[in-house]
Amino acid sequence: MAKAKIAFYWCASCGGCEEAQVDLADKLFDLIEAADIVLWPVAMDFKKEDVEKVGDGSIDVAIINGGIRMSEHEEMVKLLRRKSKLVIAYGSCAHMGGIPALTNAYTRESILKYVYEEAPTVTNPEGKRPKTRVSVDEMDFELPEFLEYLDPLDAVIDVDYYIPGCPPTPEITWEAVSSILSGNLPPKGHVFGSDRALCYECPLNETKPEKVTLDTIKRVHQTELDPNKCYLTQGVLCMGPVTRGGCKALCIKGNMPCTGCFGPVDGVSYQGAKALSYFSSVINIDDEDAFRKLVEEVGVDPLGWFSKYCLGKGTIKRR
């Protein structure tokens, strides 16, 4: 029986998802036993031409992480889509844009200007910018274009499944990969992980009083968290209520409130908006001036707090 063909690819990626894949550890060998890896830029030497050579749909599953930031990413994922039966968006960036999607709050021009001209350690008095094409000694060199927005994978190609997380846990990764390899295909569009938000599996959920009302809010570093009490009740933002579970509440058990990397549950399109909504609902301040004052004093940064990983799904693009 022919072995399944798997491709891995990284777009605008920090490398963390690759580490998570490698963290499969001994399961990795099971994977290599079960499948032929035909592309894996971080670990193996296959090139774009190798992918272009294979027949359309001949790759069984392409696992792609990172956001679509450069024209090259767009090109490669479109190629992989053509060549693959299934495409999986792996990690928060491919799923929802991830942390790099926060750059969608800035224009392309302002980003490039900062990086190449304004940053404190840059000396570039002539304001030179990278070109997409240049000829040197009669050789043509190309660089990909920096796109206007950072998009999640499904803005550019059709995605079959999502493995959420920043990075996804080894458990979730293995659960997804093995179910696909064994032919146990979930419905298209399925996001692996729990069907319910993190509170469902969080060990601190039962410590909540009947009504959760916050008289004030703090940032995590402004308080010492009691590890045995729900963090929300201690006045800090926990994204747990608005985040898909399935990670076994790792961060909670590590004394940190959830920051939302698994994205929302089904039915919520933009996690950042729901997080803003739920959190402001339980703050018990009815005087607008007092509330505005608190927001300024604490330094609430709505995008950073509520949309840390998901701005790719909430970006308002000009119509």
């Binding site: 469902y200 039962e206 009504k211 608005v242 909504s277």
Partner: protein
């Protein structure tokens, strides 16, 4: 509530555009709207008519439902407040679920306000129709929610409003449970003693006695004095109440002989005499109190047992324990009453001189059944100069005063002034006032006062009261004469107003009723629903909602009884089904919704595996939708206002 499985349902929409005579058609191109509506997906028929709300208009819809098998209706006319019930009834008659229609106000929202630009008014109306079609496409059939109604009532508070409400309800045929926190019925009317009525002075206790006799004689009213409600569960039509009866320590064998009172070693200020007299720890609140027997005040009693020794009929049991009573009622009338504003020590000299008293204390002095049998003696002699200061604690006269006017104090004060003048014709009586508010028929008190040479001194700045040994002086800047006046007063009477009862926050959170900015219980609507609260099944009457006279409280008590009886007369109530519901399969048990529901309609449940999920009581849910917006899992939806019924409207604005 069951939902039809939508799946393959073929949505067939009928759009009806009303001319409303020329109100719409005079500005908007109705034909254009009809033609446009026909182009929208799922619209099977689009028509116009001159008055959709008329019989022929309604019949048009009914016939089309039949003929074209329509299952959703859009009516572009006036707004839902006008004719939603009309059209709901009409489509019901044609066999279509009444919640599958949408009425949009192209009249109020377009033709009546954009009459200067008919083209854009028509464009806006088109958008409104497109939005309505988008909404209606996703509407689902709904059924009204039924709840049972228990034909019993709870009245909380046994003052005149509560007594009246209880009597009216009992006479209507309902069993009534009347719970009163004090050891006797009668509230403030019994305490204050004397009432003013069109210039006459009546005994408040007489009025109360009359009401109490009727209550006593009515077998449908059960009275629980010395009792408080401690738990309220359930909702409109079916409240489960727990009442805690505090021990009285004196049982029904008491024959009012008073021997216990004689030997009791403890003396405390008598609240039924506004502190001008003392009572013992074992006491009879007032003659004619109900129940008519002594009671022990556990806060001052030392439980020495002397009274037990002397009681000839063994009526005292110092070991009496509190008791719990469970009630199941369909409606609640809250007649909590009020407290009197208590001046602070030093406020106009209050508490620093015994010559500074409140109006209530004065009324007790002047009552025939008071501690001085109606005689007022100051320093052993009849008073010469009596100065009344109005608006003490009211009208924002001082920084910690309430802003509102207490309504009844001026007429009470003037009534006492006239009585004083007739009793002590040589006395000089001053009314140092901010404003005079004697309204209606009591206006004549004012003119009588002038005829009787009562001197009116008006202030903008509150007067200062200074005490020099036995003498008191009232220093006031008269605003009309623009002169400073210093009045040596034998007696200073502070005219104080009404405040909410001190435990109002605890009580109202028990019943889940709201209060206004001033702390009084809040009516559903000041004019249209003055005796209903925001919580279904709970009615409000008397001074609990704001200062009122005794007559006004009695009127309110009757009104609340009428409103409550409308509910109690039903076997079932039907509640609008536009409420929220939790999809348990999506619920993570995060508890956010429970925390924010203002009606406490949501509670946490446990699954078998120990995990939690929330559940909404359909009879308590008022349909605000706040939980839906807050639910971080989108696990809650509101019937009629689901995300899938709102977001398509937004997309439809832009033609998507």
């Amino acid at each position: 509530m069951s939902e039809e499985v939508r799946g393959s349902e073929d949505i067939r929409i009928g759009v009806y555009v009303c001319h409303c005579g020329l109100n719409i058609a005079g500005v908007i191109n109705v034909k254009e709207l009809v033609e446009y509506a026909k182009t929208l997906p799922n619209v099977v028929v689009a028509k116009e008519y001159i008055f959709m709300c008329s019989s022929p208009g309604q019949n048009l819809i009914k016939e089309d439902i039949e003929q074209y098998k329509l299952n959703r209706i859009v009516i572009a006319a006036c707004g839902p407040e006008m004719h939603e019930p009309t059209f709901r009834a009409a489509v019901s008659e044609a066999g279509l679920n009444p919640f599958l229609i949408d009425l949009i106000a192209i009249r109020e929202g377009s033709s009546w306000v954009h009459y200067d630009d008919p083209k854009r008014a028509t464009e806006k109306a088109k958008d409104m129709i497109r939005m309505s079609v988008a909404r209606v496409r996703n509407l689902e059939p709904l059924e009204k929610i039924k709840g049972e109604v228990k034909h019993e009532a709870l009245v909380v508070g046994g003052g005149v409003a509560g007594l009246t409400a209880a009597l009216d309800l009992a006479n209507r045929g309902f069993d009534v449970h009347l719970v009163e926190k004090r050891p006797t019925l009668g509230g403030h009317t019994a305490m204050m003693g004397v009432l003013n009525w069109e210039g006459r002075r009546l005994s408040g206790r007489e009025i109360v006695r009359t009401l109490i006799k009727m209550v006593k004689d009515n077998p449908k009213i059960k009275v629980y004095t010395n009792s408080e409600v401690v738990k309220v569960d359930g909702s409109i039509g079916n409240f489960k109440i727990t009442v805690m009866r505090k021990p009285r320590y004196v049982n029904e064998r008491c024959n009012l002989c008073g021997k216990c009172e004689e030997v009791c070693p403890v003396s405390v200020p008598d609240e039924y005499e506004y502190g001008i007299k003392k009572r013992k720890a074992i006491y009879l609140p007032y003659s004619g109190a109900y129940p008519e027997r002594y009671v022990i005040d556990p806060n001052s009693c030392t439980f020495c047992g002397k009274c037990v020794e002397v009681c000839p009929v063994n009526a005292i049991d110092l070991n009496e324990k509190e008791g719990e009573i469970s009630l199941n009622v369909g409606a609640i009338v809250m007649t909590l009453g009020h407290d009197e504003y208590e001046p602070a020590i030093g406020e106009y000299g209050y508490g620093l001189s015994k010559n500074v008293i409140t109006l209530s204390q004065l009324k007790r002095y002047l009552s025939d059944d008071g501690p001085t049998k109606g005689e007022l003696l100051v320093n052993g002699t009849k008073p010469k100069n009596i100065v009344f200061i109005s608006c003490v604690g009211s009208l924002g006269t001082t920084p910690h005063a309430n802003q509102y006017c207490s309504r009844t104090c001026c007429m009470a004060a003037l009534s006492e002034m006239l009585h004083l003048k007739s009793k002590y014709p040589d006395a000089n009586i001053f009314y140092v006032h901010k404003d005079i508010r004697v309204y209606g028929k009591d206006e004549k008190l004012y003119w009588e006062a002038i005829d009787n040479l009562i001197k009116f001194v008006r202030f903008d700045e509150p007067p200062k009261v200074s005490i020099d040994g036995n003498k008191t002086f009232v220093d006031v800047y008269e605003s009309t004469l623009q002169e400073r006046i210093l009045i040596p007063a034998d007696l200073v009477v502070l005219v104080t107003g009404m405040t909410p009862i001190k435990e109002v926050d605890a009580v109202r959170s028990l019943f889940k009723v709201g209060c206004g900015g001033d702390g009084f219980l809040k009516e559903l609507h000041l004019k249209l629903n003055p005796v209903e609260s925001l919580t279904g099944g709970i009615f409000l009457a008397g001074t609990a909602t704001g200062p009122k006279s005794v007559a006004e409280s009695i009127i309110a008590g009757s009104a609340a009884a009428v409103k409550a009886s409308i509910l109690l007369a039903k076997d079932h109530i039907e509640v609008e089904p536009l409420i929220a519901e939790v999809d348990e399969s999506k619920c993570s048990g995060c508890g956010i919704c429970v925390s924010i529901c203002p009606f406490n309609a949501i509670s946490m449940q446990k699954r078998e595996d120990g995990t939690r999920y929330s559940k909404i009581d359909p009879l308590l849910c008022e349909g605000c939708g706040t939980c839906i917006a807050a639910c971080p899992s989108a696990a809650i939806q509101q019937y009629g206002y689901k995300d899938k019924q709102i977001i398509p409207q937004i997309l439809a604005v832009f033609g998507r």
